[in-house]
């Protein structure tokens, strides 16, 4: 059975370590260790360029279309009543078309605002348009 003490068997390091260290220190004195700093500077410069390009692209891209403005300008008939109730468009002075009407066809309706006490509630009555 393996016991924890087996973990702590002392190993001998490979020979030649001191000579290898001397050689590395000699290289260090020759400035070899500065090379990674050049790479690091190049990396930083590259990242800065990439960030600048990204910022330019971000500023140059076209603005996203305002879907709500489009919907307000040309409200679809089937969502008219919903948009009015959400206060996205003002209530029409005359009738609006609601779907479905009799036989599945759009039918004209009147929206009439009912005064209520609560300012957070808007109440409309939709009624079939008088012919």
């Amino acid at each position: 059975m393996t016991s924890p003490t087996d973990l702590f068997e002392q190993l001998e390091p490979p020979p030649g370590g001191r000579e290898a260290l001397r050689a590395r220190l000699a290289r260090e004195r020759g400035g070899a260790h500065r090379r990674p700093r050049v790479w690091f500077a190049a990396l930083i410069a590259g990242a800065a360029c990439a960030a600048a390009l990204l910022a330019l692209w971000w500023r140059a891209r076209e603005p996203a279309p305002d879907l709500f403005a489009g919907a307000r300008a040309h409200p679809p008939a089937e969502h008219y009543a919903t948009m009015v109730s959400l206060k996205m468009i003002p209530p029409p002075p005359d009738g609006v078309m609601a779907a479905p009407g009799p036989g599945g066809q759009p039918a004209p309706v009147h929206l009439r605002q009912i005064p209520v006490d609560s300012p957070s509630v808007v109440l409309y009555v939709a009624s079939r348009r008088a012919r």
């Binding site: 059975m1 393996t2 016991s3 924890p4 087996d6 973990l7 702590f8 002392q10 190993l11 001998e12 390091p13 490979p14 370590g17 001191r18 290898a20 260290l21 001397r22 590395r24 220190l25 260090e28 260790h33």
Partner: protein, 183 residues
């Protein structure tokens, strides 16, 4: 090294002669490769040499161990990451057992059990147990290296030893069961 006022080449070499073996033993239990452990030890000494102008001779030993353990931990993390993205080939499957290879196989299994027990330790416990048991450092010295209280070193060492015992006992039980099935 303690007597000198500044760290120079001779001091670093003297330190290497004194600490190469214990540092190597600690680092090996992180990277599990003789060549890589040697590289990490060399790198730790080179980094110490680069910092020599700012290092107090009295704190040079804890600093060296701290550098070595951090380097070894980073190597291990990097190696695991490479394995995750499959840049490193998975270890070859173990050969089929044969009677002639029984003894060597048992030794390999024991080493594998030890390795997996150490690998299963959380990093904070592994740092403590490798420094206490492999570098032969006191709790106070390990506390100085890891910058934690000595009492924490003691409790983490005990917790690590408990876990190692548990993992190794499970492994021994499993191996015995496997042998019984073969027979």
């Amino acid at each position: 090294v303690d007597r000198v006022e500044t760290i120079d080449d001779a001091a670093v070499e003297a330190l290497y002669a004194e600490l190469e073996r214990p540092v190597y033993n600690v680092v090996f239990r992180w990277v599990w490769d003789r060549e890589e452990a040697r590289e990490v030890v060399q790198e730790a000494f080179v980094r110490l040499w680069r910092m020599r102008a700012r290092v107090e001779p009295a704190t040079v030993r804890p600093l060296l161990y701290r550098i070595a353990v951090n380097l070894a931990s980073n190597r291990r993390r990097w190696r695991r990451l490479r394995r995750v993205v499959a840049l490193e080939r998975a270890p070859a499957a173990a050969p089929a057992p044969s009677r002639a290879a029984d003894e060597a196989m048992e030794r390999e299994q024991r080493q594998a059990a030890v390795r997996s027990a150490v690998e299963a330790l959380p990093e904070r416990l592994r740092r403590v147990v490798t420094l206490c048991e492999l570098a032969g450092l006191s709790y106070a010295e390990v506390a100085a290296i890891l910058e934690i209280p000595a009492g924490t070193v003691a409790s983490r060492r005990n917790a690590a030893m408990e876990r190692l015992r548990s993992v190794l006992d499970d492994e021994a039980g499993g191996a015995a069961a496997r042998r019984a099935r073969v027979r």
